[in-house]
Symmetry: C2
Subunit: 247 residues, 2 copies
């Protein structure tokens, strides 16, 4: 067979040649906005950026964006108000899964490679913790971290997940690598989906809280090794929980 010498190993290309777009622009935009809501970056009653701004951030046209928002409105997740100081507002989730959000969750979680997610998440979190501790947190940054930590302490149970997410996301942002922060946001949205599938155990929350305290302390002390180790244990805890419940 001619050309044999130069033939390529079969699937070496797999990591690189991923589809250029996951579905059409509409679906991807929908996914991202849902991510914002799921991550709790916009609290209940909070306002999303104006359509013109949001469309530009997402790199889609306003027309397409409006179709996305239309869907979210029909599902009762957001509400649009016109006029100055109007906008698109996030509605409080109708409690009790009346809107069939449960099926939606199952659908999203169905295709997830749990091991992939958990491993990737740990790598990012541990890395972020290490970076933060290593390159120091100047005054304002230390403040943000402490504030995020404090917010988790006096959180009502229903809002704990959201504040926990924000704490971790803060750490990722302070790592000094925007790419890391973006990737963490993506993977954390998936992790939250997974967590929504399993019961919330108060015992675990208390344990998490102690780890959070120790983690922030290590980071502010600049003790990178300690920060990494604590974060590794923290992630291992969640991972074990998820692996246990998700068959």
């Amino acid at each position: 067979m001619p050309g044999d010498a130069g033939d390529t190993a079969p699937d070496r290309l797999t990591p690189v040649l991923r589809p250029v777009r996951a579905g059409n622009g509409f679906e991807e935009a929908l996914e991202q906005i849902l991510q914002v809501v799921r991550l709790g970056l916009v609290p209940d009653g909070g306002r999303l950026p104006a359509e013109r701004v949001l469309a530009e951030r997402l790199g889609i046209s306003r027309v397409t964006l409006r179709e996305v928002l239309k869907v979210l409105q029909d599902q009762g997740l957001v509400e649009s108000r016109r006029g100055r100081y109007g906008g698109t507002f996030v509605l409080p989730r109708p409690r009790g899964g009346a809107a069939g959000g449960e099926d939606e969750l199952r659908r999203r979680v169905a295709g997830v490679d749990v091991e992939d997610v958990l491993r990737f998440r740990e790598v990012l979190e541990v890395g972020a913790a290490g970076l933060c501790a290593a390159h120091g947190t100047g005054g304002e940054r230390a403040g943000r971290l402490r504030a995020a930590l404090a917010a988790t302490r006096d959180a009502p149970l229903a809002d704990y997940r959201r504040r926990d997410t924000l704490l971790h996301l803060t750490l990722a942002e302070l790592s000094g690598s925007p790419t890391l922060a973006a990737q963490y946001a993506a993977v954390r949205a998936t992790v939250n989906d997974l967590l929504d599938c399993i019961p919330l155990l108060v015992r675990n929350l208390e344990h998490s809280q102690r780890q959070h305290d120790a983690l922030v302390e290590a980071v502010l002390d600049g003790d990178a090794d300690a920060a990494r180790e604590i974060m590794r244990e923290h992630c291992a805890g969640t991972a074990a929980l998820l692996r246990g419940f998700l068959t």
Copy 2:
């Protein structure tokens, strides 16, 4: 001001709301194929997947893909041959930057956040090394790793970069997190661009080689802490070099 209570912190959304597509499908496909070539996943003279296959992998139509390949042909990077056992073949790089590839490189490197790249890279590499060491490398996997390491040892200088990339990519693939592997491929393509901007020092290669040996040994021994530590130093070395040369 009404609605003040629910207003969103200004740029908390930055990590999530990234453009749904970087440029149009054409550009993104071009970027990915260039990535394959830059990473050396297809050696000189090697064949890319058939157009129909490649188009499907990239999630674009064959028409669009052919426009991309047309550009690459015009630049003398690939060559298409018809008939059975034909295909699209990667041409050896015309030495000495005759084709103005230098400007192309500068252009690509211009907008790169070097700190972001270096940090993110280290996080992924260290994480991959730790995962590989921790969850064990079964027989076939250990073989792949050893083979990749051996290939770097007797590499001609001109091919060292490529084999080094393949070694690291192998580690990323063996981490058990496809997402990590994909992200590493992307960031490594950028790192290679950066490395192309600075001189190649033989002293550094020897040092790297010793680190590679130690790294693989630690991984195969299942010593995660050692693997992580070696990888951290390895990355720090490259990072220092790049920070030094790139202003």
